[in-house]
Symmetry: C2
């Protein structure tokens, strides 16, 4: 399992729009053949902070995600809503 | 979905033992009725850095995890292997 934990901070005025756009991205991403998880999380402490938890069978399948229309639409839609650059951290999934 | 992202840094000499103990904890934790995910991740950049990604149906089910024998055994087993205190960050799972 190849996991990217993407840390996202959104401008306060754009939180609801960000959630809506990310829910659409989730709906399409979980249909990708190599996808195992695509969880959208909102911090309990700060509603502007989110995690996208993206698990794929391997690095190649994760890379294919970036070629999809739904990813590219999400990326362009949310671009101006970021309060700071997104940070993706890669992990090996040992279990499961 | 109630998610705790636990950030863990292990002393270099204890990495393999930590993985073995955490795999045992994973195996039992995913059997808990309220558990949705219990992923063990190792950083791609630093083999001493881990995440436990623990998703439960609600906060009450997550709290029950801490009462289980397998959690308490894991906690006591790994205590001396921590390079710094663990940090658990709580998120609301918006999707799924």
């Amino acid at each position: 399992m190849y996991v990217t934990v993407v840390h996202i901070t959104v401008k306060p005025d754009n939180v609801n729009d960000f959630i809506a756009a990310s829910e659409r991205n989730h709906t399409e991403s979980v249909k990708e053949p190599g996808n195992l998880r695509f969880d959208l999380l909102q911090s309990d402490q700060d509603p502007c902070k989110f995690i996208l938890y993206e698990a794929y069978t391997c690095a190649e399948e994760a890379a294919k995600h970036k070629q999809t229309a739904h990813y590219q639409q999400w990326r362009d839609t949310v671009a101006d809503w970021m309060a700071e650059p997104r940070q993706g951290v890669v992990y090996k999934g040992l279990k499961p």
